[in-house]
Symmetry: C2
Subunit: 577 residues, 2 copies
C-alpha cells in the first residue's frame, strides 16, 4: 500500500485542507501503517485500529499543541504520532526504532506526558486545565480515555475533581465495549444503556458527577466525530464526549478476536518452548481441581500472566477478573484470605506497584495469607513506563511480607505449594523470566531465610538471588579459568530476610562477598547484605541495576552496562581483590 | 454521667432486649463515653459522634461476628467497640490504653481488619462476600463507608466490582455532608440531590453501577435505621443504603465546627510554641504573594499539614483540596508543573504511600517539577496503620527524584525556596518533627549530593541524615566523655544520592562509619552508604528502625529499642571498635 496522504501530513494543520473523502483515505493509510508497524515490532493493535477516526477528528478540530490532547495510558496514540510528524516510525522499516509505542515529550511537542499505566489522563487534564486558568491562557484541554482505562480508581478521582471545574475540560471516553479482556464492573452496564439509548438514558454515570454529556454512536465516522468535537471545542465547562467505537476496526481478525488483538507480538517473534506462565497455569489447574478453596484473581491483564480462555473456563467462578484496578485486586485478595479461602493474585511487576499502600496495609499489616505471583520482573528491553525492576524494593522492604525468588521451576512450584497449603501469611513469589530446571536444591520452607551453599570455595563468595545463581555459576567458571579463584556459590531464594549466620560464617576463608540480583540495587537485596556485613571485616560488592529509567534498552546492553556478564563481572571481582 | 446501660452490654446480642427508649439512652451513654475518651486520649470525635445510632442499629439488626461488618478506615468504630465488649476502653481511665482507635482483629472477633487508610471497605466486603459464596456460607457482609472515604479511587473500584455480585453485599454510605474538611468532588452534588429528593432523584450515582438503593433521611434515628437495615438484611444482591447523619451529633461545638472536631487532641495536650507547619505556612504565604504561579495542593487532610482556614482564604483558587485521593493529587501536581505553574503538594508520609505508582510514573519518569512536602515522617507513637517510617525507602529509591532531609528550619526554607525558584525537577522535602534552628550549614543547592563535615575527628565518622545530626552531636559528646573517641560528624541532607568522594575520603583516619536515620533501615539511607562503602576497608554500622509494624509505641521506647539514644549508641560504637 502506498502512504501518499500520510506522507503529506507533516503536522495536524495539514488535515485542514483535506476533504472528508481524503480524511477517510488517510484513515485507511493510517490503518495500513499500524498493521505494518505492529507486524514488524509488535505493539497495541486492536486498541489503535479502533481510534484512527477519532484521532483524525481530534487533530482536525483541536489545534495541537496549543490545545493539549492527553492520551490515557497512551497505548492508543499511534495515529496521533503519525499525524504529528512521526509517520516514518510506522512506514519506514529503518526508522521504526526511533519512536516508542507511548507518548513521550522528548519525541514531540504534541506529546504531553510519558504514560503507560492506566487511568491518569483525567487527573493530568485537571492539572493542565488548572495551570491554564492560573496563567490566564485559553486553550482546550482534552483527555482521551477508554479501552479499559476507566476502571482504575484514579480515573474516578479525576472525574470527581474534573466535574468541579468551571472552565474548559473535555473528556473523550472511547467506549469500545472492551478492556484488554472483557469489560468488568458495574459501570459497563450503564454504558450499555447509554449506547442502547443513543446517549439519552436517564441513568448516566457521567451526569451523576455533574458533567455535561454528549454521545456519538458513530465513533468510527470522521464527519460525526468532527461535528461532536466542534460542538465542544472552546466550551467553558467540563464535558464528557462518549464515543462508541469498534475495537480492531478494519482488520477482520482483530475485530473478531478483540482480546488477542489488543496487543500483539511482532511477526515471527519466537515463543519459548516452555514458559513459567504455562508451568504455573498447569500447576494451578491441578491444585484448583483438588482444592475448591483456591481462587485466582487478575486485574484486567490475564494474557500477561498466562491466564488463557481455557483456564478461565475451567476455573469458572473461582477466577475473578476485577478489571484494571490493582488496588482493589490486592485488598480483595487480602479479604478473600481472611474470609477463609486461598487467593492467588497474578500480576505484572510494573502494575503491582500501583497497589503499594494496599500491600503494606491490607496484606502485610493484616498478615492476610494471600499469594501474589509477580510476573515480568527483572531486566528486560521494555518501555520505560513498564519496567519490572523496582519490586525488589517496594515489596522486599515491607514488614511481614515473605518475598521469594525461585531459582528453578521445581523450586517455584514447591514455593507455590507451600504458600497455598502451609504458609498462613502473605507470600510474594517473583516469577523469573526464563525457565530453568533443577538440580538446584529444593525449597526449604522450614527456614525461609536460609541461604544455601551450592559450592564451597574460598576467598570470594557469590551470593545470588533467585535466578541470578546461573550467572554466579558462569562467573565462578570465569574466576576459576582466568583468575585462579574458586569462589563459594550461595543461593538466596528470599529477598525479605537474610541468613545472618551464614553470611557471618563467610568471615572464615573469604575476603569478599559479591551479591547478584535481577533488579535495581537501590532498596534491593544486595544493600541489605552490605548493611548486615557492614561491621564485619568482609568486603561487599553489589551487582544489579542502577537507579535509572531505561527505555527499550536490550537486556544484553543492560547486562553490559551493569557488568552482569560473566567475564566483566569476574574481572571486576579480581580487580577488587 | 453513669454508664449503666453501656456497662450492661457485653456483646451485640444484649441489644435485642432493649426498647427503643433504652437504645436512645444507650446512644446518650455512648456519646458521653466518646467525649470522655477523646478528652483523655484524643481521637476521632465528630466522626464517631455522628454514627452512634447507625452503629447501634447495625448491631441490633445484624448478627456480628457471624455477619461481617467492616468499617471503612475504621475511624468511626468507637461505638462498635463499645457494643462489642470494649466499653472499658472508653469509660475506665485506667484501661483506655488497652484499645486503639481503629478496628483490630487482635482486639475482638468483631473486628475484621486493621484499617486506617480510607476507601478500602467495599473491596474488603467484596472479598468477604466472595469467600462466603465459595465456602457455601450465608451470612451478611456489610461495608460501612462515608465521612470522606468515598472520594478515594479504591472505593470506586470496590463499587464497580461489588455491583457485579449476585449475592448478599450491603454497603452503608454514611453521608454527613463532610469529609475531614469540606466534601470535594462532583459526586457530592449528586448526594445533595439525593438528600433533597429523599433518595428519589433520577440522577443517582449508585444506581448507575446497577445497585439497588435505599435512602434513610433520619440517619440519627435508631428506629428509622433499624427499619432500613431489617429491610436489606439477608438480601440476595448488592444494595446501597444511603443514610444522612449529622457529623458531631450531640456535641454543640462539634456540630458547629465539623472540621476541627473531626479528630481532636487530648485535653491539656501541649502544642509546641513553634512548629514546622507554622514556619512553612508563613513562608508559603510570603512566596505566594510574590509569585502568582505557586499553587498548593492537598488531598483532604489540610489540618495535618498546617493548612488553616486563614491560609485557604488567602490562597483562594491557588489552594486546591482535591478530596481524599492521593493518586490524583500527585498526578494533578505533575500536570500542573508541566502546565507551567509551581505546585506544592502537602501530604503526610503515611498517605503519600498511596500514590507510589504516581510518584514513579508521573513525577519521576516525567521529571515534572513539582514540590512534595512530606509531613509526619519519622518515628512517632502513632497507630500501626499510620506509620511515617517507610517513605525513605519508597521515595529515596525512585530514579529521578531529589529527596531532601533538612536539619534546621533555615535549611528547610532554603530547600523550599530552591525547589520553587530554581530546581526544574521533582523535589521531595521530608519535614522533620521538631523545629531546630541553625547554626548548621546552609543548604548548598549547587551540589545536592554533597554531605558536609560538621566536625573533623578521627576513628569514627557519624553520618547523620537530616535531623538526626542532633543525635550525632549527643553521641559525639558521649564518645568523647566516656570512650575517649572524638568522632567526625557528617551531615547528609539528601537520601536520594550519596557523596561518594566524601565517604571514601573517610578511609583516611577512620575505621568505622556509623549512619543515623529517622525511619526504617530496610531500603533506607544507611543501606546505601553500606553498599557504596562495601568494597572499602571501612566498616559500617547503620542505626535506624527495624522492619516491623509498631503500634502506639512511644518514641522514647522506640529510641531505646533501636539504640537511638546517645549513651547506648556510643556504647554500641565503642563495642564495635
Amino acid at each position: 500500500m502506498a502512504f501518499d496522504l500520510l506522507e503529506s501530513v507533516t503536522g495536524p494543520r495539514d488535515l485542514d485542507a483535506l476533504s472528508f473523502d481524503e480524511l477517510d483515505e488517510l484513515a485507511s493509510e493510517c490503518r495500513a501503517a499500524i498493521v505494518k508497524r505492529v507486524r514488524a515490532t509488535g505493539g497495541h493493535f486492536g486498541s489503535n485500529l479502533g481510534v484512527v477516526e477519532a484521532t483524525i477528528a481530534l487533530h482536525r478540530v483541536f489545534d495541537s499543541p496549543r490545545d493539549r490532547i492527553i492520551f490515557d495510558t497512551s497505548h492508543q496514540c499511534y495515529t496521533h504520532k503519525m499525524l504529528t510528524g512521526r509517520a516514518y516510525g510506522f512506514i519506514d522499516d529503518a526508522r521504526m526504532g526511533e519512536i516508542s509505542g507511548f507518548t513521550n515529550p522528548e519525541e514531540s511537542e504534541h506529546d504531553w506526558f510519558r504514560c503507560g499505566h492506566t487511568s491518569t489522563s483525567i487527573s493530568l487534564a485537571c492539572g493542565f486545565a488548572k495551570a491554564r486558568d492560573i496563567l490566564g491562557q485559553d486553550h482546550n484541554v482534552v483527555a482521551f480515555i477508554g479501552d479499559g482505562c476507566l476502571s482504575g480508581g484514579e480515573a474516578f478521582e479525576g472525574l470527581d475533581n474534573a466535574a468541579t471545574f468551571s472552565s474548559n475540560l473535555i473528556i473523550v471516553v472511547n467506549d469500545n465495549e472492551m478492556s484488554i479482556a472483557e469489560d468488568q464492573g458495574g459501570i459497563y452496564g450503564d454504558f450499555a444503556e447509554l449506547r442502547a439509548s443513543g446517549g439519552t438514558a436517564a441513568r448516566n454515570f457521567f451526569s451523576t458527577f455533574g458533567f455535561d454529556y454528549r454521545y456519538v454512536e458513530e465513533g468510527n465516522s470522521i464527519p460525526a466525530l468532527i461535528a461532536a468535537f466542534e460542538e465542544v471545542k472552546d466550551i467553558d465547562h467540563p464535558v464528557v464526549v462518549h464515543i462508541h467505537t469498534t475495537k480492531g476496526k478494519g482488520d477482520e481478525w482483530a475485530e473478531q478476536n478483540k482480546e488477542a488483538a489488543h496487543s500483539v507480538k511482532a511477526d515471527g517473534g519466537s515463543t519459548p518452548a516452555e514458559s513459567y506462565t504455562g508451568i504455573i497455569r498447569a500447576r494451578m489447574l491441578e491444585k484448583m481441581a483438588a482444592d475448591p478453596e483456591i481462587v485466582v484473581i487478575n486485574a484486567g491483564t490475564p494474557g500477561g500472566s498466562g491466564i488463557t480462555a481455557e483456564f478461565r473456563a475451567i476455573a469458572g467462578d473461582r477466577y475473578v477478573d476485577v478489571g484494571i484496578c490493582e488496588q482493589h485486586a490486592v485488598t480483595f485478595s487480602a479479604a478473600l484470605a481472611r474470609g477463609g479461602v486461598k487467593p492467588v493474585y497474578f500480576v505484572a511487576s510494573t502494575f503491582l506497584q500501583r497497589a503499594y499502600d494496599q500491600i503494606v496495609q491490607d496484606l502485610a499489616l493484616n498478615q492476610s495469607p494471600a499469594t501474589v505471583l509477580v510476573f515480568q520482573a527483572g531486566f528486560s528491553s521494555i518501555d520505560a513506563t513498564h519496567l519490572g525492576v523496582f519490586d525488589l524494593a517496594y515489596t522486599g522492604n515491607v514488614p511481614g511480607l515473605t518475598c521469594l525468588a525461585p531459582t528453578t521451576a521445581e523450586q517455584l512450584l514447591a514455593m507455590l505449594d507451600w504458600s497455598l497449603d502451609v504458609a498462613d501469611k502473605p507470600v510474594v513469589i517473583r516469577v523469573p523470566d526464563r525457565v530453568v530446571h533443577g538440580p538446584r536444591v529444593a525449597f526449604d520452607a522450614s527456614d525461609i531465610a536460609r541461604f544455601v551453599i551450592e559450592h564451597e570455595g574460598s576467598d570470594v563468595a557469590l551470593v545470588a538471588l533467585g535466578p541470578t545463581v546461573k550467572l554466579a555459576d558462569a562467573v565462578a567458571d570465569e574466576l576459576s579459568a582466568h583468575h585462579g579463584i574458586d569462589p563459594t556459590i550461595i543461593s538466596a531464594t528470599t529477598y525479605s530476610a537474610l541468613d545472618r549466620p551464614l553470611l557471618f560464617s563467610l568471615e572464615k576463608g573469604h575476603r569478599l562477598v559479591v551479591t547478584l540480583e535481577n533488579g535495581v540495587l537501590y532498596g534491593g537485596f544486595g544493600e541489605k547484605v552490605a548493611r548486615v556485613l557492614g561491621p564485619s571485616p568482609l568486603r561487599v560488592v553489589c551487582f544489579g541495576g542502577t537507579k535509572e529509567f531505561v527505555d527499550r534498552v536490550s537486556t544484553e546492553e543492560l547486562q553490559q552496562r551493569y557488568h552482569l556478564e560473566p567475564a566483566a563481572l569476574a574481572a571486576d571481582i579480581a580487580a577488587t581483590l
